[in-house]
């Protein structure tokens, strides 16, 4: 199976979304908006490189980005809801345990609305390209093809999914009580692993939707709520 033309077109649209983020970020910065987090050109480059992953994914046993066998509920609705649930848990832990005091300013994981939609939308794409879309299909293609004579090897997928899912939660491990550290790691690992599974079974958009659901509430919605209360 190969990537459909429409899959590549959709992905090109996602790259375009990142370009808009860069442009708006630079414009807002020039207008003196303080503490603005930028989406860099190097990040756009990485996302563009993800086209290789879109092309390789169906060749290594993943559903195509717009696989006709996958329903929109499987590709968009359900993963989005799962992402919301992860974010809801994070918000509850944050306001209930980590920072019970009223939040009085945009925190380091928040940006002004509506720029936050662009930044964290592009950010979600960047993270998913970095941790999944590029490394897993490329390694499956290389290792599976030349070492296992099967680039669709299910065991190899789970090995790569298990290992790549470790990276983000370890990078973002918080320093606090053992219970909070355990929560942070476990929820991060589970979400990344679920993303890899959804990517495999329902295509790249499904995996991405979990993260978009999470970011929509955690970064964008929570940030907007803080802004409205200021």
């Amino acid at each position: 199976m190969t990537a459909s033309r429409s899959s590549l077109q959709i992905y090109a649209g996602l790259i375009g979304f990142c370009l808009i983020t860069v442009g708006l970020g630079r414009y807002l910065d020039s207008q003196g908006v303080a503490n603005l987090r930028q989406f860099g050109w190097d990040s756009v480059g990485l996302v563009a490189l993800g086209t290789v992953g879109v092309w390789l994914a169906p060749r290594t046993g993943f559903a195509d980005l717009l696989d006709p066998r996958v329903t929109n509920w499987q590709r968009l609705g359900r993963p989005l809801a799962i992402g919301f649930l992860f974010a809801l848990a994070d918000v509850l832990v944050f306001v209930g345990v980590i920072h019970p005091e009223p939040v009085t300013a945009l925190l380091f994981f928040m940006q002004p609305f509506p720029y936050s939609i662009l930044l964290y939308g592009s950010g979600a794409l960047y993270v998913d390209v970095l941790y999944r879309l590029l490394p897993i299909p490329v390694l499956m293609w290389l290792v599976g093809r030349y070492a296992l004579t099967n680039p669709r090897h299910t065991g190899l997928f789970w090995l790569l999914a298990g290992l790549s899912s470790l990276v983000e939660p370890l990078e973002q491990l918080i320093t606090d009580s053992p219970a909070l550290i355990a929560y942070s790691f476990a929820s991060g690992y589970l979400m990344n692993l679920l993303q890899a599974y959804f990517f495999r079974k329902y295509g790249f958009l499904a995996g991405l939707m979990i993260r978009l659901g999470h970011y929509a509430l955690w970064h964008v919605g929570f940030g907007l709520w803080v802004e409205l209360r200021l």
């Binding site: 503490n35 987090r37 930028q38 860099g40 980590i98 920072h99 005091e101 939040v103 009085t104 300013a105 925190l107 380091f108 918080i174 320093t175 606090d176 909070l180």
Partner: protein, 381 residues
């Protein structure tokens, strides 16, 4: 009111205030040109410029003091990016945890005077900690000074603490040491049984600051002022909270995209005025302090030796925790050096003394992204 009970304490304080026989330094020339005739001026300046560039710091200050050549101080870059102010060799900056050396000296002076013993227990010294800090009756003064108490370290271990600064720096700034202890230390488990491990914790020095104030009946700034700053004529050094607009500003690349943000308000909220990292000073004052301390002018030989002795524990690498009492042991290419590092979100400072040649090295930059120690090896040869 019966005043007689206070006389021994007052007498002790007067003895503590006795001036030290330390040469008084002459006022420091501030412009870089003051050191232009130094025989190695260009070498040091080039190294400093490269260091600043490589560490992506707006500005950096370096002091080199070695036998056979005069003291050299250089400064390159900016103290304040917003106003494009050049950093000066005599610029005042936050020294971070180098403060712990000063606080340790003050505590050891009390011990020298017989008012404290290193084996005194925390629960006895600060009775309100009993029942609030686990095993407070087992934690000794030595454990606090050497980071072997097992206490938690909120600035580095608590995301709650860090978020409070980021979210509302003025609110965190307004917290007293007692409130900090109450919120972030009391009731929290120890990392290990006191004396069985080594783990750096700023909370040890919060408690030592409280102890100094309790023992002397004076605020911390008065203790350090009377016992160290004034006797050594460290005229540009203080710990109390003052207007910080003239200090070198601290910066950090918060988003990892190369843009630097002024984070001085976070550094201020985190440590200004506090015993774990609140001192403001200059490169020259730090060097004068190191010279006096390691030259035996602040503590007697016996107490200086006690301060410098390695903390040895089986749980440390090779049994050596590379820490004494408020002083770090650095294994450099030139042998063992004593001193301390001070790091925060927006600053990085190092003060080192090389006993083999009595050299002093001070390096500061206003970007809190760590520092490259190779510069020291090259320049202190």
């Amino acid at each position: 009111m019966n005043l007689s009970a206070y006389w021994p304490a007052l007498l002790g304080l007067l003895m503590g205030c006795e001036p030290l026989a330390v040469p008084q330094p002459t006022p420091l020339p501030c412009g870089l040109s003051a050191y232009a005739r130094h025989p190695r001026h260009q070498t040091y300046l080039t190294e400093l410029q490269q260091y600043r560039q490589q560490s992506v710091a707006p500005g950096s200050i370096l002091l080199i003091q070695k036998p056979g050549e005069p003291r050299w101080i250089g400064a390159v870059g900016k103290a304040n990016l917003e106003h494009q102010t050049d950093i000066q060799p005599c610029g005042q900056f936050r020294v971070g945890s180098i403060t712990k050396m000063f606080v340790a000296v003050a505590v050891l002076k009390l011990a020298e005077q017989g008012k404290l013993r290193l084996d005194d227990r925390l629960a006895t010294l600060l009775p309100h900690t009993a029942g609030r800090i686990p095993q407070a009756d087992q934690i000794t003064l030595r454990h606090l000074l050497s980071h072997t108490s097992g206490l938690t370290d909120p600035p580095n271990e608590s995301i709650r603490y860090q978020l409070r600064i980021v979210d509302n720096a003025p609110e965190r700034f307004s917290l007293t040491t007692d409130q900090l202890l109450d919120t972030y230390v009391y009731g929290k488990p120890l990392h290990f049984t006191p004396g069985t491990g080594w783990r750096y914790s700023n909370a040890n020095y919060w408690l030592l600051g409280k102890l100094l104030e309790q023992q002397t009946g004076k605020p911390l700034q008065s203790v350090l002022n009377d016992w160290i700053f004034k006797p050594l004529a460290l005229n540009d050094t203080y710990i109390e909270v003052r207007d910080d607009s003239q200090l070198v500003r601290g910066y950090a690349d918060l988003y990892g995209d190369g843009r630097l943000f002024d984070v001085s308000h976070w550094d201020r909220a985190d440590s200004d005025g506090e015993a774990d990292g609140g001192i403001i000073s200059t490169a020259a004052d730090l060097a004068t302090f190191a010279e006096a301390l390691f030259g035996g002018k602040l503590l007697s030989d016996a107490w200086l030796t006690e301060m410098l002795n390695h903390t040895r524990l089986p749980s440390c690498p090779n049994g050596d925790c590379e820490y004494g009492l408020g002083v770090e042991h650095w294994k450099t290419g030139l042998g063992l050096a004593y001193g301390h590092n001070g790091g925060s979100v927006g600053i990085e400072a190092n003060l080192l003394y090389f006993p083999h040649n009595r050299g002093v090295f001070v390096l500061y930059k206003n970007n809190g992204n760590g520092s490259d120690k190779r510069l020291m090896d090259r320049l202190m040869k």
